[in-house]
């Protein structure tokens, strides 16, 4: 599994996909957090990173499907999947290696933003007066959200040969799980009855709950089961197609 992981990481950085994805994420998040007046924390009057944590999932919504779109679609398109499957590897190792490589890229892009916390804490009045617990929880939430997006993206890449279709389906899935279920819950047939449950199928309610600084095992369980479920779908899709 580690061999596949290493190969994927090498390919991310030799094809510039890695640098560009990380670069775009950092650029956008820095612009929205510190420069653009409507969302800048410098003008908000509060020592909080809430705007960063509400914008970052939107950047991920596009960037993660862009990272994952070639994961399996390209292997099928060029036929290299045949070589991979005929090696003494299990399907789990192939999926695992590729999944963790994409996840590592997401983590690499999030880690530099830790500097925002130190910036915030030094400009707060009095200095250091920030909600550290809330920020740590938010980071956990953001990584888990990214991890779920990677699983959704992996699945959409496993169902097609075409990278563009994989990207679009990936964006659709991420959107559906991030915000779609919140909108669906507001449909008249759910309101007042099952809207609470429908909302909890989506990622957003769990993400918000983690950003309060409380790491609830129910949220953790939700994210892990979403990831495992979609990786299992990925495996089924791959086995049916080969």
């Amino acid at each position: 599994m580690f061999t596949i992981f290493k190969k994927e990481i090498n390919q991310f950085f030799s094809s510039l996909v890695g640098y560009i994805a990380i670069g775009i994420f950092l650029m956008l998040s820095a612009l929205f957090t510190f420069v653009f007046p409507t969302t800048s924390i410098l003008d908000s009057g509060f020592a909080s990173l809430d705007t960063f944590f509400s914008n970052a999932p939107l950047f991920f919504l596009f960037l993660i499907p862009a990272i994952t779109m070639r994961m399996f679609a390209e292997e099928f398109n060029t036929g290299t999947i045949e070589l991979l499957v005929t090696r003494p590897l299990g399907m789990n190792q192939i999926i695992g290696g590729k999944y963790f490589a994409a996840l590592a890229l997401v983590v690499f892009s999030v880690v530099p933003t830790f500097i925002y916390y130190f910036t915030l804490s030094s400009i707060a009045a009095p200095a250091g007066n920030v909600d550290t617990g809330g920020i740590i929880g938010s980071y956990f939430g953001l990584i888990l959200l990214g991890a779920s997006f990677v699983a959704l993206g992996a699945f959409s890449s496993a169902i097609t040969n075409n990278q563009i279709i994989a990207f679009l389906v990936g964006v659709l899935f991420c959107f559906l799980f991030y915000m779609g279920f919140d909108f669906i819950a507001k449909l008249p047939i759910f309101v007042g009855k099952t809207d609470y449950f429908v909302e909890h199928i989506g990622i957003n309610s769990h993400y918000l709950s983690m950003s309060r600084g409380v790491i609830d095992t129910r949220d953790l369980l939700y994210f892990l089961s979403l990831i495992v479920l979609f990786l299992m779908f990925t495996k089924t899709a791959l086995e049916r197609r080969k």
Partner: protein
């Protein structure tokens, strides 16, 4: 007396055992079938190959060559039947069988954005080979990639890409090599090199290769299986196929046609351009006999040649 017999018995047994280990069946396929929808891609085929043998799969497009190979490598699951690679059921004990197989798929898929050395080390690591560096260097030397070893795969010409494909198939020193159209799209020089390499490999390993070029089979293989519409239509030693040919002579006579010629056990038929084809199943020295006959009759011969009834004709006949 008894002692002597006993010794003889032991000796024969020992010989037998040596024989068995040398000529062990390395690939055994029994009643293998695969359907795609309603179409039968491979229809109940069985064959065995022993080590040190080069087997050629010959057949028109869509005959089931690639599908059969994909089932042996475990990439495609069979609907029915059994595949044993070195005694291991390749459909059940997947990983073990896969370690015994080196595979070059059709169209030679490679990661074009990787470097030659990087790719070969990646493959070596997948097989958990010790001393990856040494082994990669060995393979580069064996396949003649020294000058190209620091390039990206996408920069290589087709022939060199093919060598990378063969190198990755050989890197774990497999007992069985499965090469799907290993020589397609190569220029004549590259063709010769790759053929020589495959022949060399065939001395110690079991090689199964597929092709639709007849000369290829004649040049490289010990044995040929001709497939058509998913079925085996011929399974012979290449030398046998060549001996089995019936004799055909092509001739041209001034102002005469096939009906003017009469000989025992020889069939004459008209061809385009005034040529006549004479064929016979049991005539030795057919050319000489026809010549004598024409001289006796006073016919003027304009053309007389013996046609080589090659594998190509066998192939055409069997797959019509």
């Amino acid at each position: 007396m008894h002692e002597l017999r006993f010794l003889k018995f032991i000796k024969s047994f020992q010989n037998e055992r040596i024989y068995i280990t040398l000529r062990a069946m390395s690939v055994k396929v029994t009643n293998l079938s695969k359907h795609y929808g309603k179409q039968k891609a491979v229809d109940n085929i069985s064959f065995e190959i022993s080590s040190g043998e080069i087997l050629g799969f010959l057949g028109p497009n869509g005959a089931g060559k690639s599908t059969t190979m994909k089932m042996i490598t475990g990439f495609v699951e069979a609907d029915k039947g059994q595949v044993k690679v070195c005694g291991i059921d390749s459909l059940k004990q997947n990983s073990l069988a896969k370690e015994k197989i080196g595979y070059l798929p059709e169209n030679n898929p490679l990661y074009y954005d990787m470097y030659v050395k990087e790719y070969l080390s990646f493959v070596a690591n997948l097989y958990k080979i010790k001393n990856v560096k040494v082994r990669v260097a060995e393979m580069i030397e064996k396949t003649g990639l020294q000058r190209e070893q620091h390039k990206k795969i996408e920069q290589l010409s087709k022939g060199y890409k093919q060598r990378v494909g063969i190198a990755q198939a050989l890197i774990h020193n497999p007992e069985v090599l499965i090469l799907d159209e290993p020589t397609s799209g190569l220029d004549p020089n590259q063709l010769e090199d790759i053929r020589a390499l495959i022949k060399e490999l065939g001395k110690e390993k079991t090689v199964i290769l597929s092709t639709h070029i007849m000369q290829e089979v004649e040049a490289m293989c010990d044995r040929v299986i001709i497939l058509n519409k998913g079925k085996i239509v011929a399974d012979n030693k290449v030398s046998q196929l060549k001996i089995n040919k019936s004799l055909v002579v092509k001739l041209k006579l001034k102002g005469k046609k096939a009906k003017d010629l009469q000989m025992d056990h020889v069939k004459f038929e008209d061809l385009a351009g005034g040529f006549i084809r004479a064929s016979s199943k049991n005539a030795d020295e057919l050319v000489e006999k026809i010549f004598e006959h024409c001289v006796k009759q006073g016919f003027v011969l304009q053309h007389l040649e013996q046609e080589n009834f090659s594998l190509e004709d066998v192939f055409k006949q069997l797959t019509k």
